[in-house]
Subunit: 456 residues, 4 copies
């Protein structure tokens, strides 16, 4: 279904990613400079900016050309389409026209056609087509949001900051333009502020416009700069309506981020609270209380406990591979399985579960029925003999040891209590699974029993 014809770029190619990032920077530049030029540079255009603009346009033209060679992922089949014809059809039928329209240098064309450099508002409106390119910035941020290398919080904040700054900048430029072009002398906000504003430097005028814009946007509204004619009132009415939506959007996003950010702390508090209420209500002894709270804390600190849940979400075949990879090396080193064929081990491993046990917790209790046995992956486990409230440490097991197998092999209650000394990772095997696995091949059964007898 995928045909390679000549030169085709995959969208995941790192060089193409760089090009895309470069394009995003250029889009940001042109979105910033374009309203500024229209508002402040009309009377005395800046040659440097003019040249830069046209260089940026050339880059965009190159990008339009390049897009015909970039493969895309088909939405229904999730496959990469590398057929140049399909790529062309898809591009021509979607964004091509707008991309071209936003790249044509209308003022350059006007210069060539009319021979005059200074052109009217109609060309400015055409210049506004460049805002179409902001689509790329949106795509860029959407991609960043899904990229795990960056914090979602900061990407989202950057996105909101970009939108806010662009709004403030554009509104400031437009508000200046309205006052600068107002026909009747004497009653614009610029003249109210400074009757000789035309003689002040560009920077001062720009900062004043920006100051008004952000004072209005954040709803501070000092009132030192306010609408003085009907046209400005109309502009402010629309700007405020837009700002109402934008502010609500910013607050909504922040709320979302805060909720997401504090979710874990909330859950932690809720579960700890439930546990300590339970302990208080039932007057449990301090040792049990500590165990319960320690377990609850551990559950949240070591997220590793969610491992089992994740594994169960994955398809069966991946699960098997993970289990083989994680448990086999440990299982192979256990004395009981020395010399046992790999086939049996794979069978056993498929049913194992990894558990994290906090320190000072009983894994196996004396007189318990021998339903499970454990292999220690990490940490230390003590073997305790308890007689008449008297507990005595008999032995300490370390990584690679097996506990509880005596009960399982002899089919009698566990004779010792096994308690973790440190945070331990254990592999749990059900006795029934072990016995079933042993029955599969006679030779392995004999080896295991030999191993067991030799060890004890």
């Amino acid at each position: 279904q995928t045909h390679e014809k000549g030169f085709i770029i995959t969208p995941m190619d790192s060089r193409y990613r760089c090009w895309e990032s470069l394009m995003v920077i250029m889009v940001a530049y042109s979105a910033w400079v374009c309203p500024f030029e229209i508002a402040f540079m009309r009377s005395n255009p800046n040659t440097t900016l003019y040249i830069t603009d046209n260089v940026v346009d050339i880059f965009f033209a190159a990008d339009i050309f390049l897009t015909f060679f970039v493969a895309y992922i088909d939405a229904t089949t999730q496959l990469l389409v590398r057929d140049r014809r399909k790529i062309a059809i898809r591009y021509l039928s979607t964004w091509f026209i707008m991309d071209v329209a936003s790249t044509i240098p209308f003022d350059l064309l006007a210069l060539l056609l009319t021979g005059k450099h200074q052109v009217g508002v109609s060309y400015s409106v055409l210049g506004m087509l460049r805002f179409w390119r902001l689509r790329r910035v949106k795509q860029f941020f959407t991609r960043l949001e899904k990229d795990m290398r960056f914090s979602y919080f900061w990407v989202r904040c950057a996105r909101l900051l970009f939108v806010t700054l662009l709004t403030v900048h554009c509104a400031g430029c437009l508000y200046y333009l309205l006052a600068d072009r107002y026909p009747h002398q004497g009653d614009t906000w610029l003249r109210t502020m400074n009757p000789n504003y035309k003689e002040t430097s560009l920077v001062i005028r720009y900062i004043a416009a920006l100051y008004w814009s952000i004072t209005t946007m954040t709803t501070v509204g000092y009132g030192d700069l306010h609408a003085v004619n009907t046209l400005e009132m109309v502009f402010i009415i629309f700007y405020m309506l837009f700002n109402l939506g934008l502010t609500a959007y910013i607050i909504g996003n922040m709320t979302n981020l805060v909720v997401e950010g504090t979710r874990r702390t909330m859950e932690f508090r809720n579960s700890i609270e439930a546990a300590s209420n339970f302990v208080c209500r039932n007057h449990l002894p301090p040792r049990l209380k500590d165990q319960i709270l320690a377990y609850m804390c551990l559950r949240f600190r070591a997220e590793s406990l969610n491992q089992q849940e994740l594994i169960e979400q994955l398809p069966k075949t991946i699960c098997k591979s993970i289990r083989h990879h994680l448990f086999l090396p440990t299982v192979e080193k256990v004395y009981l399985f020395k010399g046992v064929t790999r086939e049996i081990l794979l069978l056993l491993v498929a049913d194992m579960k990894a558990e994290y046990i906090p320190p000072r917790e009983d894994v196996i209790m004396q007189n318990e029925s021998p339903d499970e046995l454990y292999i220690i992956v990490s940490g230390e486990v003590e073997m305790l003999e308890s007689e008449m409230e008297n507990e005595q440490t008999v032995w300490t097991f370390k990584s690679g040891d097996m506990i509880g197998e005596v009960g399982a092999f002899c089919c009698r209650p566990q004779s010792y209590t096994y308690r973790t000394k440190t945070l331990s990772q254990l592999l749990k095997i059900r006795t029934s699974n072990l016995i079933e696995a042993m029955k599969t091949r006679q030779e392995d059964n004999i080896i295991m029993i030999k191993n067991f007898l030799q060890h004890h």
Copy 2:
């Protein structure tokens, strides 16, 4: 229970839907024009507006008449009631009185009774009854919100915008009215702004009122237009209190929309993060890592995987129909079921499940017990023979082929690994179900075994 008597309109009728939309536009028009007329048009009423108002009223009268013929859905039985008497009783006992009260042209009546056109505030208050009609706009938006053809986000935004604009407009008109009618000369906001405001054009006065209204609503509060007498202060106090609620409502709605809009991205990030943490912590090899991440991404991109969940929500009979429709055409074409009676196929199909498997994933692993067999609906699956870490592609299966049936028929572990080449849709059949289905009819059993032997 439903009786058809003469001419009855069903509410789902497309012509009636058009009429309803027309009514909504008229309601919007009258909600907009009514306060404007009262505030700005008192001194010199506009004949065009006056006529339009009465035409709109005629339409509303027609709508009241029409409502007696529109069937309705009974809330308890969910059935359409087409009985004209029941419709009339329901309407008369609910909205009828208010609908009539909001349609009576009080000023026209006053004109007829008193012979004078210019009437007092009491009639304005009666005119305010027309705001009752806004109920229809609310119903309209509520219906749009449940209509899947429109984006919930934009419908909700449009609703909020409508409420905001109407509030701003009405407050502006009322604020103008207060200043215009204020008995003491010289200290209203209008006179403070422009001592000769009466000589300015209607548009300028309206925009000034609107500018004040929105400046207050959005809490910018420049202060160039502010209350100058106690009556205006009282009005502003109530307006601000209302705005506090409205702003909170807008932000609340926006937060809700943002949370809903980013929910999927959040879930995606959370699951990917859990998976990559898991991979890092356990130092899994790159191949497994890629498989896990690819699977996680696929789960989110191709929502098709939720198919099973949806099917299980539906009642049994619909489920069956869906399975027949989706799986039967594929199953009939499989070599094994050539010539088998439809009855058996239906039985088999009822237990099948469709699965989407990402590329390069093992469907069946060598030496696995033959619990399941698969039919390929789309995509390609490779058959691999692996010997001593050496994997060799033996065959490539395509749409309509069956894999794993050799193991199932011969009751021995699968002899090959089957791995997807592309994103594949597979139908999973449990071996036990197949065997049970085969036992049902002797003839079909023989046909299937013949098919099997012939093919291998």
Copy 3:
């Protein structure tokens, strides 16, 4: 454990509830009037208000006395404690001191002790103790929030409105007080606004204070009234900090209410969207599509479908009572169970489930195995004979009829398709449960078989 000693009032007594509501009104009155008196009435106290205040205080004293006779619910045992001694101990050790302190009429005492009516700020501060009574308003709203007779949305809004208005009122009074008492002549906000403010009416001064207060609270901040001396600045600093919290709290509450209010519409849209995506992706035929969407809509409109879920939450004994009450009257009328002992019916009823089936849906399909039979509670069900794509209605079953029992009794596949004509409520009985119930008593078994044979 509960001892009745003499006169004791239960807190659920309706007369006591009235008294509590009266107390809440009085608290609201005193919270409103107290700051007003201190700020505006210092110079010329109003006799009516003075008397009313003391009457209110008498009521509060009565309430303190009454509280010694009101039983309470113990938090740990959930039992009503009616022991007068325990009530007294509980009250004395918790709220008693503050309640008394907030009721003592300090100014009356001062009048009696000093003989002068006009007293200083120290007594005002003691008067502020009355704000302690607001605890009752909080309790009142908390109770209303849990009362199902009132909409949560409006109770919550009323609560927020009360808090907002009280804040605005108190801040307004305090701001007036600051300006009125400011020692240095000429530079308070009151004098800036109107140099002769002392000569204006009380109402005008109060509204100006309120206007300033709400302009600041809602962050409009026109700037016509602003701080002019350092003391006012300090007050505004604290007021604004408080407002920041209050505004955030209002928005937070509104967001919560909006999220809760739109939750169901969201869920509806999400489930309909999932269903229609599923239909589109799989190109299902229109009839299936309509069935699926109709079912999804019904699930949301008729919440009755959640019935089963609710029943399962309840304890076993309540569940049984509900089932007996709901299903027994219907089951007794079914021909099959005429003359059968109640004991058997109770056994059957315990395992029944009620289901709502939308119109035109297959309940039983031809050739299906007879695992379930149904009793029609309401609605109509058609019996269809389908042969070669030809469907023919054989019979229509109504409320009280039983369907599918032929298959169940004869142990053969259902010979007809049963399809709902209208929205129907059906009771589902598993065939296995019926057979088990029949085995329990021989006599009933015979009666049922007789009934069955007689009917067919």
Copy 4:
């Protein structure tokens, strides 16, 4: 893995906790005083403040020294690392450099080197390094948030208040500094407010700066103090942008807290609403209605019912300990188990479940099959004999009694109804578990049967 070498402090040590809290207070002090000194104290430095600053710096130096002796918890193993070398390496490679840089008293060094006290802006910037210490305040609040002794709501509010106040303070100081240092005479906000501001007291100037700062932060923006030169405009632009984020963050946090705070009330209302809708729709009799609503209320008031859920979350060994602790003392006192060996009791206890039953609810119904028996832990249970709608109380059981055992031992339906009189806690034992436990040891079986016969 943990080596104790000489003097090591554990981070959980209460004395070290006190030291940390002291450090937090000092950080807060220096974050407050540092900008104040730079802005207001330049011209006439205060000796007391100067000395205090250096004392605080000495404390910080001590803390840096101390950190080399504080054990830490390793993130991967969750173990306390007490090895002094590891502690040093960890500290040196993370925060050490910044901690030292923020503690060096640059102005003291400058004094020593240059011999002049009055130093330039460059030293102020170095002084700003002290803001690095705010990291400690963040850690402090994060720890408080996880501490169950403090309300999450108030800790979070305190955190937000701290951030808000610090922002307001710093912005106020900086805004004053800008105006105070502005080279051109006559056009700063300070001179606009008061041309002779330098002669006013420090407090008045500080409050004016703070007043401007908070007026802007809360977006009130009266406009009495606003930017008058371009530098101030630039500062305000950045301050407003920051405030937009901060306000959104505050609102987001408050929303989160409100949602969390009202969650339980919401759930309560939703479940009560579902229940009462269910009751209305099905016209259930009042007695059943009361039972259902009472049960629903109890579920929310007595959170104890969630006990089972919590127990199931805990690891098996803790569960066992809890059950032994909670149930064994009660079980041992029951007449049936007098003289029975502890081993059997432990076996029984492992399968018991504790249930809270609201008053007037049937625990066991007459003629019910004897699947379960109950031990009363607290509360009272009536034994009722019902004959022909006539109910008669036969006996009242109290704490320590057993109900339903007659049916279980004799294998016949329960002959009485058992109904709770008060809120009762019951231990539920399955009859099958009891019988199984009895079979385990012959001697115990005989004792139990003897006990049973003796009692009846």
